[in-house]
């Protein structure tokens, strides 16, 4: 029997601080860099949401540090409406791009895709390094908007993360938050698009080209399938955003009329009547929406798919059972990815687009619920007959399933054009997307962090702190976002800096305060997580090669892995990724690369159906 490994030419590890930690081409370092970027971005995003909640719940509150930092936008510490709206915009942009599109894919994907397929590194390591640093520059640019928008009395542009034209295209004449901040916003997003595309290129090529011997496509962990599909989505959707962003920037700076129609009268000035407002004709505001949402809808699947992959992976590991319906799970990932390109119009039912296309988009949207439901059934099926080990990563993975159902199911309401007549732009929309993106997706990231931390750093995160973090966050996020659904039913509109103007909103105030209190508690609890991450890097309990008794290739190497992942000896794969509880096997798990396993009874390897 031959040894199931292959000697390869070893590349020497880099030396020197800069090459090791700053401009590294090692996918593991780059992955951690992405995760650190996301950890920084999410603090900014959470602080912004905290400020928003305070403004909504306790209007009139003066926050003196705000008054010091932003005297224009929060004079005396009391934020004005444009300041609030710029918080809305920047919160959304930073969270969606710099948290949800970095950590799940660029972070964990970069770190673990090559290892899980048995490769030494990504296909194009230099491009990988570039993709991170380009993304980082994008982050600096968006942060600069916070401080360079001072004359507008905002912390960046006003427009929501969706930046609808013509508000976003007209420039400063359309009001505060439409000046420099908007330009920086567009530029930052354009830079981010480039960084993302470089990353997507790497993921796809690596997965297609560099799988080790025995790692067929249907033996890949579901995390790899998720990262692959996410990369394809990114590859095909980000260029559209880039195109739209260029058109928007041209409208703003070069006097073109892609999105700006003729005959406008803005802030007392008629289009073409004075140099502040050059003549525009014939542009289509809806065109921006089409371009944006053609990107925007796949983007939300980019945000959730890696979390789905991680959940499947972690559920199987701690249920000590194979994933239920592996093949169906792969097809569901494809279906979600593919259908995701055909439903963007459900953001635009009442935009003025053709009502016939609204019907088509609506029916397609409801059908995308089917693969998501299939995945949920399979997750529950994975737990059926299991032997669950309730570690912190497992808690978060189970939490993911609960929260994904809670958030996803309201898509059935919002996806129907008739119901959208009442629900569009009310709080039921942020209730829906926060539960799926802002919570379920983040739970996927938490689960991934607790799970893979021992592999990345050779030490466990503190289990007790992790459990406390889970319980409070789990109850907390339900408390924050479930009430928002009924707020939306009553009719609370989105993006309002104050609800004091309308009688029909007054009855909601107790709920508004409740949500804010829950948010404050939940956000504060995340400090535990930060502490846990950084403290455990140095002081956590030491972990070995395979502390969770898992099966996939990353657990076949040291913790942390050496520079070339497998110390020059690439593994060979003998079986599927989730061979737990194989009857007759000596232990309740069989590693993918374990060639010496003897099974004395039963059948079973390779993902065959039973």
């Amino acid at each position: 029997m031959s040894e199931a490994t292959h000697e390869v030419h070893r590349h020497p590890a880099p030396t020197g601080f800069i090459r090791k930690y700053i401009f590294s081409i090692d996918h593991k370092v780059i992955g951690i860099q992405y995760i650190m970027l996301a950890l920084a971005a999410v603090i900014v995003g959470m602080l912004m949401s905290l400020l928003m909640r305070i403004n909504l719940s306790w209007p009139g509150t003066k926050i003196s540090i705000l008054g010091t930092l932003f005297p224009g936008g929060a004079p005396g510490g009391l934020m004005n409406p444009e300041f609030y709206l710029s918080l809305v915009t920047m919160h959304g942009t930073i969270m969606v791009f710099f948290v949800l599109t970095t950590a799940p894919q660029g972070g964990f994907g970069n770190y673990f895709l090559p290892i899980q397929i048995g490769a030494e590194d990504m296909a194009f390591p230099v491009l990988n390094m570039l993709s991170f640093w380009v993304t980082f520059v994008g982050f600096i640019v968006i942060l600069s908007a916070i401080f360079l928008s001072g004359s507008d009395a905002t912390v960046g542009p006003i427009g929501g993360w969706t930046g609808y034209a013509p508000l976003s295209a007209l420039g400063a004449i359309a009001g505060p938050g439409q000046g420099m901040g908007m330009n920086l916003w567009i530029i930052s997003i354009a830079i981010f698009c480039v960084g993302s595309l470089l990353g997507a290129l790497n993921f796809i090529t690596t997965l297609l080209n560099m799988r080790t011997r025995g790692m067929s496509l249907m033996r890949m962990p579901l995390t790899c399938w998720a990262w692959f599909t996410t990369a394809v989505l990114a590859l095909l959707s980000f260029p559209v955003l880039l195109g739209g962003g260029i058109l928007l920037l041209l409208d703003r700076t070069a006097g073109t009329s892609f999105f700006i129609p003729g005959g406008l009268y803005v802030s007392g000035v008629l289009s073409g009547s004075n140099p502040n407002f050059p003549l525009h004709t014939g542009g289509s505001p809806i065109l921006w929406q089409h371009l944006f949402w053609f990107f925007g809808h796949p983007e939300v699947y980019i945000a959730i798919l890696p979390g789905m992959g991680a959940t499947s992976h972690i559920l199987a590991t701690f249920a000590r059972k194979p994933v239920f319906g592996y093949r169906a799970m792969v097809f569901a990932i494809f279906a979600i990815g593919l259908l995701g390109f055909f439903v963007w119009g459900h953001h635009m039912f009442i935009s003025g687009m053709s009502p016939y296309s609204a019907i088509a988009f609506s029916v397609l949207t409801l059908s995308i619920g089917v693969p998501s439901a299939v995945k949920t059934f399979n997750w529950i099926g994975t737990l059926w007959g299991a032997r669950i080990r309730f570690t912190t990563p497992m808690l978060f993975a189970i939490g993911f399933v609960s929260l994904f159902v809670a958030g996803g199911i309201t898509g059935l309401i919002l996806g129907q054009s008739s119901l959208d007549l009442a629900m569009h732009d009310t709080y039921i929309v942020p209730a829906h997307f926060h539960l799926v993106m802002g919570v379920a997706s983040i739970f996927g990231m938490f689960a991934a962090t607790y799970f893979w931390f021992p592999k990345m750093f050779g030490r466990f995160m503190n289990e007790r702190l992790g459990q406390i973090h889970f319980w409070i966050t789990f109850v907390g996020v339900y408390s924050i976002f479930v009430p928002m659904h009924v707020m939306g039913l009553v009719g609370m509109p989105r993006r309002y800096s104050s609800f004091a103007e309308y009688e029909f909103l007054k009855e909601l105030h107790p709920l508004v305060v409740f949500v804010s209190v829950a948010a404050i508690i939940t956000i504060t609890t995340q400090l535990l997580f930060y502490f846990n991450v950084f403290w455990s890097m140095f002081k956590g309990k030491k972990a070995g090669e395979n502390p969770w008794e898992a099966t996939t290739l990353e657990w076949n190497t040291t913790s942390p892995p050496p520079h070339d992942n497998f110390a020059g000896v690439l593994p060979t794969v003998y079986r599927g990724p989730y061979e737990f509880a194989v009857p007759g096997a000596p232990k309740d798990f069989l590693m993918q690369a374990d060639s010496t396993a003897e099974v004395t009874s039963g059948n079973g390897h390779n993902g065959h159906k039973h």
Partner: protein, 283 residues
């Protein structure tokens, strides 16, 4: 641990369902002809959603409650990679339920958006701007006077660019509130001067964006008199939150009398009616 988790999941499920079904915070009482059908579709949807939600959470909790690791080396999980039959069954059932819901969810939409306003509708032109609503009434002659953006002059209170030289414009009125008759189809011609706004009256169960460069025609019928708050539902700038107006629904005869008034008196009388009508209850 598993038991605690199951209980917490079930508790959260119970509370979530309760916050909906106690109906303390709910859709406002409806005032339009299409609303009953919409509300029925909504109830059907929310019931299916509720059942699916509860079932999934109960199932999840059940698994977590029951299947704990005993720690014994010989106690292993069930070795199965799934069941093709189950996959087909639950995929088909889900697809049938979801797609049926989807198809049913087009009916109200189709009835409102795929056809023009019926003949004899009461027409109003709506021109939105940062940050007020302008409603243009054709007056007694029922013909809208010509408007042109080049004639707009906010400082001279000609918000909609009405061409005073047009004879049809003599009896037109442009005011910041919407007044319409009850039980008669209303046609709104929606335009915007600057950025995208959105017309929305919650009890109406109807919303539509106003897009610069487009004239979008919509129609609905209101079946209850009263005064209702009108809000902008698309971010349009810093004062989006107070781009407020009212929709006043009057009996037909009262509206006819109002419309017959000359321009100058129309606005004053409308304001008087608005002041004297209490807001309809929102719950």
């Amino acid at each position: 641990m598993g038991r605690v988790l199951a209980v917490i999941i079930w508790l959260l499920t119970l509370l979530s369902v309760a916050i909906f079904f106690n109906k303390k915070w709910w859709l406002p009482p409806a005032i339009s002809d299409h609303a009953p059908a919409l509300d029925r579709q909504f109830m059907l949807t929310i019931i299916i959603v509720g059942i699916a939600f509860a079932a999934a959470q109960i199932g999840l909790g059940w698994m977590v409650w029951k299947y704990r690791d005993s720690g014994r080396a010989d106690d292993r999980g069930l070795y199965t990679h799934g069941s093709n039959r189950l996959e087909v069954i639950w995929t088909v059932i889900t697809a049938v339920v979801f797609i049926s819901l989807g198809v049913m969810g087009q009916r109200v939409w189709a009835s409102l958006r795929l056809n023009d306003a019926p003949a004899g509708s009461y027409s109003v032109e709506v021109v939105a701007q940062q940050f007020q609503w302008n409603f243009h009434y054709p007056g007694k002659d029922n013909v809208f006077g010509r408007t042109d953006p080049s004639l707009i002059d906010d400082s001279a209170v000609n918000f909609i660019g009405l061409d005073e030289s047009d004879p049809n414009a003599k009896d037109d009125a442009s005011v910041t509130s919407l007044v319409i008759p009850v039980n008669r189809p209303i046609e709104l011609k929606l335009r915007s001067k600057d950025v995208i706004h959105s017309f929305w009256v919650p009890p109406l169960r109807f919303k539509q964006d106003l897009v610069p460069g487009m004239e979008i025609k919509v129609h609905f019928t209101v079946n209850k008199v009263g005064k209702y708050e009108l809000a902008c539902a698309e971010l349009c700038g810093q004062n989006h939150f107070k781009m407020k107006s009212y929709m006043l629904v009057l009996p037909e005869d009262q509206l006819t009398a109002l419309s017959a008034l000359p321009q100058e008196q129309f606005q004053a009388k409308l304001q008087e009616l608005l002041n004297n009508t209490p807001l309809a209850p929102s719950y």
